[in-house]
């Protein structure tokens, strides 16, 4: 079916967008690469592993179930799971449907009246000496294993990084039976208090969010999981797997304070220093980005490209309630609903309040400018190509290059299978700080990935349906 509205990503924002679009009467196609809907937030067990009470692992599970059930039973909403969006071009959205990294998957080209991008975000992890050892996971990865697989990554675990998301991760691990030895938040208490509590009236509109955080901080984890602000895991030790970490106190710029190091024996480490939005499809569609590199949207979640909307974490990291509100607005307007419709009032109020809350969380947990002082020259920065901090320094010094493309090719950072998803922003900031003049030239960015997910050459070969090249006679 040719949809009125195509929604890409079935996390909270995408589900809300699909529902809102359906309520305006639009025919909807909802795509997700996973084999079930819910996104990373409501990641759960597959149907092959039924459980009576999965809701204990989740916030808002009943809301999720209701949204899912309504969409699944709606004949005018087609949910396509295992839908891997490879590219967007002038002829439509190009999708492979089938197994992740499979072969011979079904090709679909979807042209829709409007597209809502709800592709979400993934953990940003700052490099730490030893972070490439087995037993080091992203915070989101450890949580995904706990919620989606019922697997715990270790017995003695630390959770470290920055941001409120560390708390639910610690809770998931604790609940699954780990000993969570500590949550180490790099931002210092003074900064957290200053930004969290600066304008308390702004929190009035966000009771759920505050409640959720308070629930973690004072309730579920209190007395069971020690929470330390102004501390970071600054080195990870082990030979073939993690055996210990060094935790250090940080100054306000995230520079480790000499003499504060403490070694803790662990068998797993979970790291997260905020999130990186998944921008490749928005960039392929031509959507303009903001200065801090999220998708630029207006009050109705319109991007700079006609008929393209964006909702959820790709417009700014704000959590589930903001994603739901944005999805509701985007889906409604994308389906042709009036932006002024009364049905949007609640979502608009929520977006206004939560947007301010998200901005304050972002500044409270912003990455400190001197975090890189905990690196040593042998620390891996690009995990795929095993490019070290020292490699980056010497390439920058020897070449004096100011272009990201040159620097990538000179160092190989960001050129491996993950295509800079993990290291991209780190590489950019480390090189930028060392470039002649203190900035990189040109508009190259690691976020530009015309092929959004790998495709087999043989699959791509079947995408050829025009006339062949002219096969001119040789001269």
């Amino acid at each position: 079916m040719t949809p009125d509205v195509l929604v890409i990503g079935a996390g909270p924002a995408g589900l809300a967008a699909a529902l809102a679009a359906r309520r305006v009467g639009a025919v909807v196609v909802l795509l997700d690469a996973s084999d079930y809907v819910g996104g990373q937030y409501w990641r759960h067990l597959p149907v092959t592993r039924p459980a009576r009470n999965q809701s204990v692992l989740h916030h808002g599970w009943s809301n999720f179930s209701a949204m899912r059930d309504e969409l699944e039973s709606d004949p005018r909403c087609e949910i396509v799971t295992g839908a891997h969006v490879v590219a967007i071009d002038g002829s439509g959205v190009h999708v492979l449907v089938g197994e992740s990294d499979g072969t011979g998957r079904e090709r679909r080209v979807i042209r829709a009246g409007a597209v809502v991008l709800a592709t979400g975000a993934f953990d940003r992890v700052l490099p730490v000496p030893g972070w490439d050892l087995p037993g080091v996971f992203t915070a989101g990865g450890a949580q995904a294993l706990a919620k989606g697989e019922r697997v715990v990554v270790g017995e003695r675990v630390v959770v470290a990084g920055a941001g409120p998301f560390l708390l639910p991760v610690a809770a998931s691990l604790y609940q699954a039976g780990c000993r969570v030895l500590g949550v180490y938040e790099a931002s210092r208490t003074s900064r957290l208090l200053r930004h969290w509590l600066a304008r308390p009236w702004e929190l009035l509109g966000t009771p759920d969010k505050v409640g959720e955080l308070a629930h973690y901080a004072s309730g579920q984890l209190r007395g069971r999981v020690p929470y330390h602000a102004g501390r970071a895991v600054t080195a990870i030790h082990g030979e073939s797997r993690v055996t210990a970490v060094t935790v250090s106190a940080l100054d306000s710029s995230w520079k480790p304070l000499a003499g504060t190091e403490r070694t803790i024996e662990v068998d797993a480490v979970c790291l997260g220093h905020g999130f990186t939005p998944r921008l490749e499809l928005a960039i392929a569609a031509g959507c303009r980005l903001t200065r801090d590199r999220f998708v630029e949207v207006d009050a109705d979640l319109r991007t700079s490209v006609a008929s393209y909307f964006a909702a959820g974490e790709i417009t700014g990291i704000g959590g589930v309630d903001l994603a739901l509100a944005e999805g509701a607005i985007a889906g409604h307007v994308a389906a042709g609903g009036a932006p002024t419709d009364v049905v949007l009032h609640r979502a608009r109020r929520a977006r206004n309040a939560l947007g301010r809350f998200a901005a304050r969380l972002a500044s409270a947990h912003a990455i400190g400018p001197n975090w890189s002082t905990w690196l040593d020259p042998s620390t891996i920065i690009c995990r795929c190509e095993e490019v070290t901090f020292g490699d980056l320094l010497s390439v920058s010094r020897a070449s004096r290059a100011t272009g990201l493309r040159s620097l990538k090719l000179l160092s190989r950072a960001g050129l491996g299978p993950c295509q800079g998803r993990v290291c991209g922003r780190t590489v950019e900031s480390l090189l930028e700080a060392r470039a002649p003049g203190g900035h990189l030239s040109g508009d190259a960015t690691m976020d530009r990935r015309p092929i959004a997910t790998p495709i087999r050459l043989g699959e791509l070969a079947t995408w050829f349906d025009g006339p062949d090249s002219p096969d001119e006679s040789l001269r």
Binding site: E385, A398, G466, P470, L474
Partner: protein, 362 residues
Amino acid sequence: MVVLDRGAAVSATSSAGEGNLLVSDKAPGPELALATYSLELWRNLPAALAEELDGFTSIEFDPKGGLVVATNADESAGLARLADAQRAAGVRAQSVSVAEALEIEPHLTPSMTSAIYYPDDAQVQPAIAAEALLASARAAGARVLVDTTITGPLRDAAGRLEGVTTNHGTVEADHVVVAAGPWSGEVATQLGGTLDVRPRKGWLLVTTPMAHRITHKVYDASYVGAVQSDSGARQVATVIESTASGTVLIGSSREDVGFDSSVDVAAWGAIAARAVRLMPTLRDTSIMRAYCGFRPFSRDHLPVIGPDRDVAGLWYATGHEGAGIGLAPATAQLVTALLLGEPAAIAVEPFSSFRSTLAKVA
């Protein structure tokens, strides 16, 4: 010596190519002479640059040889004719049997009809090589000004060019050499010159790192036709080769769409369809990246090396289409000789900016 770039150096065409240093795709004539001369210069560059630039990344020069493969009788006949003419011009071009071709490149389709091996074809990492050359220029005293856009000419009373104005002030010079790739036509116009160089867009696909190397540069014989083509419609000719890091580059397309860099999956599909015909076992290889660039196209397929017809002090080193990296060292030598009024190593007249074959068709 001042090098100007409106963005970062090496950020456009130079970093979007395969790093072809080829004689195989050139019919006898001035471009083959230039390529042969340039390859001689390339062979000495890796060692010279490594010695001069301590600690600089390897430019990945690899004299791996090229294998051109025909897949039908017409291609075979055309390829044989080309190879005969090249051999007469002194190019090493060895006919190999299908069995021999399969032995040296087992991924090739057994249904190929013939193949020619060109031992002198080579590869370089073009962006690293260009940065190394720039670093060498810096070491010799060149100033490199990035983020600097030319806004117009500086002329003396007689109209001779004596520099350029830029968004960052004026830059005085006795000579101005335009080497702006596909943007050279625009820059020439800004400076009062006449140069018809236009973009030809091309896409390349990149696989994930593979265990099995493709040890040569492998082309299908239609590549030889495409690089000589005047058509602006999309053409695809297969070029497949491993890089030093284990990825495989698969190209390439060629079309006239101006400077439109937007994604077009049909171009990728066309490249992939031809590639799996030439190397069927690559069918299940993962493509992790596609990138496009713009070649500087001149209407008679020859580079433009030498002075502008009218504007004294304005020079060109551009229009090499897909062969710019390969032809760069020789081009530099020719421009230098012309600037200094010294004899050039090979004939320069065929590359004149006012040769008859560049004249606009009325």
